[in-house]
Symmetry: C2
């Protein structure tokens, strides 16, 4: 596997994260770089979904990936195989990324030749939802084995997301997961959230998700 650059990001010293995030988003707009913040529980399939997404979009967009993790660089090494530009961010134990940490990551990645940057946030349904990273859109993955009741338990995460990918639909027959109930719970938190059931392993549903992302990234450059 290819060598991956690892960046140790520092905890932010800025109290006013919302202002930092707004200012980062403005700069990204000027540069025409679309930043997607991808969140989920540990093990919901963020990396596999990313691999499929890159595979589908790499001929349409120049893609960069920031892999945020407490430790290890296993995901970044996997992503580097996809041909996307990738950097591993180590958060030094921090459970989330804020706007200033995201900015450090973007500087490390170098975005001059990139149109779409995907931030794979720390696997956690609580803390990442509390911090605006400066991303243009927030996405999350909920996987079938986690259960359809998660929007009841992690309200903020579901209310800040523009799109929820329901992953691992290939194992629906083996779990008590009610898709309609799940849709209803998600829309209780945010009626505007787009919901896309998919299976990153087989590729089912990836097209709809990739089309959405491509359209958003192209609108951002206008």
């Amino acid at each position: 596997m290819r060598e991956v650059r690892i960046l140790e990001i520092k905890q932010s010293v800025f109290a006013d994260n919302d202002r930092q995030a707004q200012s980062l988003r403005k700069e990204l707009k000027e540069k025409g770089v679309f930043l997607l913040n991808l969140m989920s529980s540990p093990g919901s399939g963020k990396t596999t979904t990313l691999m499929r997404t890159i595979e589908r979009l790499k001929d349409s967009l120049r893609i960069g990936v920031m892999e945020a993790d407490i430790d290890s660089d296993v995901d970044a090494r996997t992503i580097s195989e996809s041909g996307a530009k990738v950097i591993q961010l180590h958060t030094g134990g921090m459970c989330h990324l804020d706007a200033q940490m995201t900015r450090q990551g973007l500087e490390g990645l170098e975005t001059d030749d990139v149109e779409l940057v995907i931030l794979e946030n720390v696997g956690n349904l609580v803390c990442p939802a509390e911090f605006d990273t400066g991303a243009v859109k927030n996405a999350m993955i909920l996987s079938v084995p986690e259960g359809d009741d998660k929007p009841l338990k992690y309200p903020l995460m579901f209310s800040v997301c523009d799109v929820v990918l329901i992953n691992k639909i290939d194992v629906l027959p083996y779990f008590d997961f009610d898709m309609e109930k799940c849709r209803e719970y998600i829309h209780m938190r945010n009626p505007k959230t787009k919901i896309i059931p998919l299976c990153a392993k087989t590729g089912e549903g990836i097209e709809e998700w990739a089309d959405w992302l491509l359209e958003e990234a192209e609108n951002w450059k206008k």
Copy 2:
């Protein structure tokens, strides 16, 4: 379903959490109350495992359960059906419990008639590992769909746990999960960790786990 008492716990004002935790543990020892801190990702099966555990131990031990959640009381209502004493703790958005928050929960639960208290911590593999709750033992659940590589990504969680339950082994045929590799990764973090594969849904493996817990709780009273 039975009515469940909901306690809004306050964020701790004590800087020295370790000292608070030690002092809570000492009081629990004097009272002969065994406190287990149960942690995991969202959707790994904490509540189902708890139901099975209570079913198996309720004739041997008087059991109390503290359900910590950001929001909702769905788990507490489920647990109340088991016959165990239960209280719902709302953390007000906090991603973890510390010793002082745990103490508030124990006071709300009232432990005079209880020998084993299980704290179902917030579903999160990052923050709960950083705070000693005052529990006698830490346990966590890793479920098969989350993947065998989680000990590489969440090192602190796996290093603070005395026992790791590997749940949902009934779906092993449908996931790329290498049990031996997982054991190896867990023992890299903590060579003394006890590992118990089980399936809370079918009950497989619950006996070994319940026996371990019963023995620990009985030793604690000596």
